[in-house]
Structures are given as C-alpha cells and as structure tokens.
C-alpha cells in the first residue's frame, strides 16, 4: 500500500494539531490574529479584498508549490465562480452562503473538465494549455447572455447569511470573509501536509519513480487541479458577494498573471508565501490606482526582477535566513 508508506513519513508531523510544525503554529496564530485585528486598523472592505486574493493565490500554489505545475489560467475558476455566485444571488435570490457554494460547484466542475485535459501535458505545455482554456472561458463570458458582457453583473445583493444575519454592514461581511478565509487556509494546509500532498511532491520530484511505485500520477494531478480550482472559485464567489460585482476583469488573463505574481513575490516554495504576496500586490494596486497603465509597467518590472534576482520570494528568503520551513 503506497499510501501507508507516505503516511508513516509524516506521522511525526501529524501528531501536532493539523500536523503543524512549531513554526507553522506560530505563523498560523499570527495570521488569525492579523485577520481579527486588521479591520480595526484598516478599511474592512480593503482587508476583505486582500483576503479573497490571498485565498486565490494560495489555491494557485496548491499545484505550483507541490506539483511544480503552473495553472496560468487560474482566473477562469475565480471569474466564472464569481459570475455564478453573482447570478445566483441576484437573479435566483439565493442566500449568500448558497450562492458561494454554487460558485464553488461551478469552479469545481470547470476544473474537473479542464484539469482532465491539462494533466495530459507537462511543464510549459501545461501552462499554455491552462492559459488557452482560460481564454476560452473569457470569450464565453464575453458572449454569454447572463454575464452582462462589458458591464458585468452589478449591484449583487449581499443578502442575509442563512437567511438570518444581514451582511449589509461591512463589519458583518468582513466577519464572514475572515472566517471563510481562515477555514480555507486550514483546509489547504491540511491538504498540503497530508499523505496526498506528500504524493504530489513525490510526483514533482520524480514522476517516473512515482509511476513505478504504482501511483496513478495523472489522477493525483487531476485531483490537485480540481481542488485548486475549487478554492479559486471560493475566493471568486466570496469576492462577488463582498464587492457586489462580477466582471470580465476577473476572468481575463491579466488576473491570471496577477495571481502568479502574488505567489511568485511571496515565495512559491512556501505555504504562506502567497498570502504575503497577495497583500503586497493588492496594496501596490491600491497605492498606484491613480497612475493608469503604470501599474502594468511596474507589475511587469516586478515580475522580471523576481525571476532574475528574487526567485525564492519574500518568505522563501526569510526561510533561508531563519532556517525553518514556512
């Protein structure tokens, strides 16, 4: 049983809560504290946006960090799910939690189809295939009647959570986003450091050996892809409800590029890196909002600098300095 073997190597880690190392426990507590404290210091909606993107970036890193496969069209799941959730909440009058679940379901289904095709190629082709399919989703969103074309779906009602708690107040909304974010982080963490995650890293490091050990490699890749798409969908649906808007920007390749940048700046080889990267990119966009195309130029430069001189990213560099897994 290959599973058993993988499980044994992680038994030590699994003894701790959620299998967390001491450093990770500290970082996780810090993160929870930050999520609780942030809305008192910053504008809650801004932090909510940041958390949505942080979850989006983490979902990309599930594949990138563990399998070394870059889903270069990750905006497709984020964007389509945000359309689905917005449509469900506005037209069908679903309560927010059901609308978000519906968005996640749509993202999972899309991920299941595209993933099944994409895992047939590796490396650079994988990136091109996912990007091309995402562009197809973009063209679809451009033409489909329910997406509202260039206008998007506007004035999406936030509604009442479980039909009970109104989310109209920004603080109530933030509470929901904060809780979902933390739950998402914990779930992704659990997946990453589970036997399943171990197998993903084994496939990344030596695919031929993983095959010879009897693992159905493409099946594992597919499942990781679907999970990644699902969490991207969760982030997108939540963003649609929080900002009451689903638009073409969310499915465009520019968004796919941004989320890659977040993972890259934060550190692709680390678990928490994408959160830091998302914070930095969202903050940068906020600061540069008035400068138009300069945002793109600066983002492009940051991309190039990261690749040329800063490939480990922020947390990757910190990890090297303190000598602990992050």
């Amino acid at each position: 049983m290959p599973h058993k073997q993988a499980a044994e190597t992680t038994r030590q880690d699994l003894a701790a809560p959620l299998g967390m190392s001491r450093t990770h426990q500290v970082v996780m507590l810090l993160l929870v504290a930050l999520v609780i404290a942030a809305p008192f210091a910053l504008y809650p909606l801004f932090v909510a946006k940041l958390l949505c993107f942080a979850l989006f970036a983490l979902s990309l890193n599930l594949m990138l960090g563990n399998l070394g496969l870059l889903s270069f069209g990750h905006a497709a799941y984020f964007g389509l799910s945000s359309y689905a959730a917005a449509h469900a909440a506005k037209i069908w009058g679903f309560t927010p939690e059901v609308a978000i679940l519906f968005g996640v379901l749509v993202a999972l289904s899309l991920g299941a189809v595209i993933g099944a095709l994409a895992v047939r190629r590796k490396g650079i082709y994988f990136a091109m295939v996912t990007l091309a399919f995402a562009q197809m989703v973009y063209f679809f969103s451009l033409q489909a009647p329910f997406t509202g074309g260039e206008d998007g779906i506007q004035r999406v009602p936030r509604g009442e959570l479980f039909g009970l708690f109104s989310l109209r107040d920004d603080r109530a909304l933030y509470a929901l986003v904060g809780v979902v974010f933390i739950a998402g982080v914990l779930a992704l963490y659990r997946i990453t450091y589970s036997p399943f995650g171990q197998i993903l890293r084994a496939i990344r490091d030596n695919e031929a050996r993983a095959v010879s050990l009897g693992y159905r490699v493409n099946g594992y890749k597919w499942l990781a892809f679907v999970l990644g798409a699902g969490f991207a969908g969760l982030a997108g649906a939540m963003k649609a409800i929080a900002f009451q808007l689903a638009s073409l920007t969310d499915v465009y390749w520019g968004m796919s590029g941004e989320v890659v940048l977040m993972a890259l700046i934060g550190g692709m080889g680390t678990f928490f890196g994408p959160v830091v990267g998302a914070g930095l990119v969202v903050w940068m966009q906020n600061e540069l909002a008035g400068f138009g195309a300069w945002v793109t130029i600066i983002q492009g430069m940051v991309f190039m600098l990261c690749i040329l001189a800063f490939r480990e990213g922020i947390l990757g560099t910190v990890r090297q300095l303190i000598g602990r897994k992050l």
């Binding site: 047939r120 650079i124 091109m128 197809m136 130029i297």
Partner: protein, 294 residues
C-alpha cells in the same frame, strides 16, 4: 451560386479572412517554435513584439515618412536587434532554470512593453493609411479580393517558406538544428552556440515584428493588439506541437482556415473553435499533431 446553402461570396470571403488569421498564426507560432527549440523559452513577449512591429511601422510613416515597403524590411531588422540585446542582457541569466521561469519572465517583459505603449498612446486604436500599392483589388468572379489582404497571405507564405528552407536546407540552418538537439556537442565542433542563441531569439522576434508590420494596414494598431492573439497562438502551438518547423506553419494556416469556416456555419463559436480543437488534440494525440511523443 450556393455552397452548402451559403452564398459563395460569403463563403470565400470568410475563407480568405480565415487564411489571413492563419497567416499571422503561422508567422507567430513559427517564431515561438524556433525560439523554444533552441532557448527552451516560451516567449510570452511575442505578442508585444508583434504590437511593437505595427507601432514601429506607424511611427516611421508618421514621423519620418518611411513607407510600408521599406518598413517591411527595416522594422523586423530593428526589432530583431532589440531582441538580440534582450537575449544578451536578460534572458541569458535564466537558461539553467525551470522553463516556467522563462515564460514568467517574458510575460513580465510583455507587460512592461504593452504598458509603456498604453501610457504613450492610450488604449484606442490608431489607423495606418493603406499604402498606395495595396489599394484596390481583384474581381475573381466569385469574390472580390482586396490587394492588401492578398498581399498579407502571399507575404506570410513566402517568409514562412524562406524560413523553412533556411533552417532545413542551409549550412547555418544545420548548425541551428544541431544546437537544438545537442548544444554542448555542437559547441565542441567549434560552432559559437551562444551567438547562435542570440541570433535565433533576434530572428524569432523579427518574425513577430514582420507580422506586426503586415497587420498595421489591415487591423487597427493598438497597444493590446498582440496580447489576446498570443494566447490563441499558444493554443495553435499546443495543437501543432513545437517540435517541427513545417508543422508550426501548416498548423497555423490550417487553424486559420478552420476558424474562417466556423464563422460561416456557426459565427458564435468562431472565437472558441481553436480551443475546442486543442481539447480534442489533447485527448487523441497529447503531443500535438506534429510533436514527438514525450
């Protein structure tokens, strides 16, 4: 006259428009294939160089009065040189890394180039006045063929063919093929592979710039003209497989044609048909139509 219940004019016009798209797919995927073969980099900035070619032609005409025909020669040369400089000073640092890094690096490069032009010229399109020699057209009886469009197809076919001959039939091309297969061994035979790499990148970029000049009179010239195109070209490259030069050319024209035909029978699907074909190819022949099975 009707073909499958469709007026022959409409039918042949869409085929021609499809072939024009195919002409651009072929030129761009050919450049990508050559660059990938030797550098192992998927040049995401390819769409930006295509846009740069169109803008260069436009600016040369507006400010220096240099006409289309001269631009067809000068612009690819200039932008090819720019490509050589970029290879020498930027790309050279990442050859030892995972191929993904090259793709992300050139993605960033594309963002910078497009961003600069959006700052300078905004997002709206500029028009390049039709050169004198390309005005008018030919009445073929079943359709009207504008000279400008016919020229794009002919020019693309000729350049693709010349590139194929240069790579498959000349001494220089044999070096390129050798260096693509076994760079170290080729270097041991006294061939300057680093120089070859620089020139190859420059040449691939020049092909994109040439396509850009061709596009200037028939499409609107705007900073993002290459950004969406290049993603479709990626799909073309996945369908064809990057292993073969002639494969890249054939796949490019073929898919343009298929797109044109789709526009006749089911216009709404024309923007997505290439991606659907990509899905089918991934199912049936994952390595691509002309690719070697990995």
């Amino acid at each position: 006259m009707l073909i499958f219940g469709i007026p022959i004019q409409l039918f042949s016009t869409q085929i021609m428009l499809g072939l024009i798209n195919g002409a651009f797919y072929a030129l761009l995927s050919l450049g990508l294939a050559i660059i990938f073969g030797l550098l192992n980099i998927v040049n995401f900035a390819h769409g930006a160089f295509y846009m740069l070619g169109a803008f260069a032609a436009l600016l040369l005409l507006e400010h220096l009065g240099i006409n289309y025909w001269v631009a067809l020669a000068v612009v690819p040369l200039g932008i090819g040189l720019l490509g050589c400089v970029i290879e020498r000073f930027i790309l050279r640092w990442i050859y030892d890394l995972d191929h993904l890094y090259g793709m992300i690096l050139t993605f960033g490069m594309g963002l910078v180039i497009v961003g600069i032009f959006r700052n300078l010229y905004g997002a709206t399109g500029l028009a390049y006045s039709m050169p004198a020699g390309l005005q008018g057209g030919y009445n073929l009886g079943f359709m009207y063929l504008p000279a400008s469009r016919a020229f794009v197809i002919v020019a693309s076919v000729l350049v693709c063919l010349a590139t194929w001959i240069a790579i498959e039939k000349t001494r220089m091309g044999s070096w390129l093929r050798a260096a693509t297969e076994k760079p170290q061994l080729t270097e041991a035979f006294g061939i300057n592979v680093p120089l070859l790499v620089t020139l190859t990148y420059g040449f691939g970029v020049a092909l994109a710039a040439f396509a850009g000049v061709l596009a200037a009179p028939i499409f609107s010239v705007n900073p993002t003209m290459g950004s969406d195109l290049i993603i479709v070209v990626f799909a073309v490259v996945v369908i064809g497989g990057m292993g073969s030069i002639s494969g890249a050319i054939l796949t490019g024209f073929m898919l343009g044609l298929v797109e044109g035909l789709t526009k006749v029978f089911w216009p709404q699907a024309s923007s997505t048909v290439i991606f659907v074909i990509m899905a089918i190819v991934l199912l049936v022949r994952p390595a691509g139509l002309f690719g070697k099975q990995a």
